[in-house]
């Protein structure tokens, strides 16, 4: 049950996700880490083995394609990417347009805290 991590180009994402769906994988989660670029990781499970597919997206072009056509349940994760990180996910099947998370500050995970700025 070894976990795998595969980094691919953004343009290859939909084909890869389709391939994983066809192979019988369940979507486990989508997460984002913000460093020099947005590091977006899609996790899939089959027979308790985890496959992580990673896409790097620049801050200058913060757009990632929606996989809701393949996995409808991805709408929750993709709205999270939009609301917390300020990424744009076009063609989402259920797009809350920034209102899925009713946070006081818009895209809070894309903002350095005062403590971080001081560091």
């Amino acid at each position: 049950m070894a976990d795998t991590l595969l980094t691919i180009d953004r343009s290859e994402l939909l084909a890869k996700v389709k391939e994983l769906k066809a192979a019988g994988n369940r979507l486990v989660q989508i997460s984002c880490t913000l460093a020099e670029e947005f590091e977006i990781t899609y996790s899939f499970d089959k027979d308790l083995a985890l496959t992580n597919v990673r896409v790097m997206v620049t801050k200058a072009d913060p757009v990632v394609p929606s996989i809701t056509d393949i996995y409808l349940c991805a709408f929750a994760y993709e709205n999270e990417l939009q609301d917390l990180f300020g990424l744009t996910v076009p063609d989402m099947k259920l797009n809350f347009n920034g209102n899925f998370y009713m946070t006081a500050i818009k895209t809070p995970f894309n903002i350095a805290t005062k403590k971080q700025e001081a560091q």
Partner: protein, 361 residues
């Protein structure tokens, strides 16, 4: 076609102790669509990890939720241990199983009580919570807390349970198990419970899998998926199989939880029988290395939880991400609500065992 109206459900509703909102698109009394909204109390705990010492974050991780608090702490610690290649002593692993399964029992008894309350079986609700209190007494005896255990730490556990104490706990647990069975048998055998829940909120096996359902929501459709089978902590050394039902309805989800209570008692007995006499922690030196990553999955009472941690080489993590089971079960819940009657909505929402506190980590 009947006229469509939208009925708002939540964020404040008698069956919801925490806020989630659903716009129910209705045709007469039938729900044709449910549109969820969350984020009313989002706390940003993930962001907090970027400015808090990784060892202190254990306390924060435990406070993601008041019901599965121990397992949140355990998952966080296991992920940090993975980043730092720490080998946790065997006794600590077994103690984690014991406390983790106690969490499962009290969570399921809490849910069974809430479910009984939602369908109007008040005495069953009170008895479920009465028995739960007995178990919380043991939790308090062994950890010092009833809600927040505070007993897990990076590198092991903070407290030991002496072997003599484990023996006396076994006797107390046998008594609590007997009382639990009297209650869970009502859920399994009482006609009124079955009539209220059977055939309601059906989620097919294919939908459950395609929509990423987890925990009892998934296992109630016939899929034997349980992250504990990955063998983390001491689960790989214990004998057990996931509890599975096949109907995929509210009743099946209820039965899975009732039977998981028995299973949790059995796992605790096995862990007590096999627990070795070793140290309970190892010294933690240094910080999680820069660029190190861990995807840690555990089985909470509500289902699979995922922790993603990324080290920065300092005492602060670059990223702490938690995908909670309720978050994963939102999409399956929306599908289970389609076609149901308005009066069944509270029961269906409850049978995913929603924990908004977790979801709004």
């Amino acid at each position: 076609m009947a006229q469509r109206t939208i009925v708002p459900f939540g964020p404040q509703h008698p069956v919801l102790p925490e806020p989630i909102h659903l716009d129910l698109v209705m045709e007469d009394e039938t729900v044709v669509e449910a549109i969820p909204s969350i984020g009313f109390i989002h706390r940003g705990l993930e962001k907090l990890a970027e400015t808090k010492d990784f060892q202190e974050m254990t306390y924060v991780a435990e406070r993601i939720c008041g019901i599965c608090s121990f397992i949140h702490g355990q998952g966080y610690c296991q992920a940090v241990e993975d980043l730092m290649n720490l080998q946790v002593p065997q006794r600590a692993k077994y103690l984690r199983v014991i406390w983790g399964e106690m969490s499962r029992i009290h969570s399921h008894l809490l849910w069974l009580g809430l479910a009984a309350d939602a369908f109007g079986f008040e005495s069953l609700f009170m008895h479920s919570w009465r028995v739960r209190e007995k178990l919380l007494d043991i939790v308090e005896e062994t950890t010092g807390g009833r809600v927040i255990f505070g007993s897990c730490k990076v590198g092991g556990v903070r407290r030991n349970i002496e072997n003599e104490k484990l023996k006396s706990i076994t006797l107390e647990l046998k008594n609590i198990e007997k009382m639990s069975r009297e209650i869970t048998e009502v859920f399994e055998k009482d006609g009124s419970v079955k009539r209220r829940l059977a055939g309601t909120g059906v989620l097919s096996k294919d939908d459950a899998y395609a929509l990423g359902a987890v925990g009892p929501m998934l296992r109630a459709t016939g899929i034997a998926s349980d992250t504990r089978k990955r063998g983390y902590a001491a689960y790989g050394e214990l004998s057990w199989e996931p509890v599975v039902e096949t109907a995929g309805d509210c009743y099946a989800r209820c039965l899975v939880r009732a039977r998981e209570v028995y299973q949790a008692f059995d796992l605790i007995y096995q862990a007590i029988d096999k627990i070795p006499d070793t140290e309970i922690d190892v010294k933690v030196v240094g910080n999680p290395p820069a660029g190190s990553e861990s995807f840690m999955r555990l089985e909470q009472p509500r289902g699979e939880v995922v922790y993603y941690l990324k080290g920065s080489g300092t005492k602060f993590l670059q990223r702490f991400r938690v995908r909670t089971p309720t978050f994963a079960n939102i999409a399956p819940m929306v599908v289970a609500l389609k076609g149901c009657q308005l009066a069944d909505v509270p029961n269906i929402v409850l049978t995913i065992d929603p924990c908004i506190s977790c979801t709004e980590r």
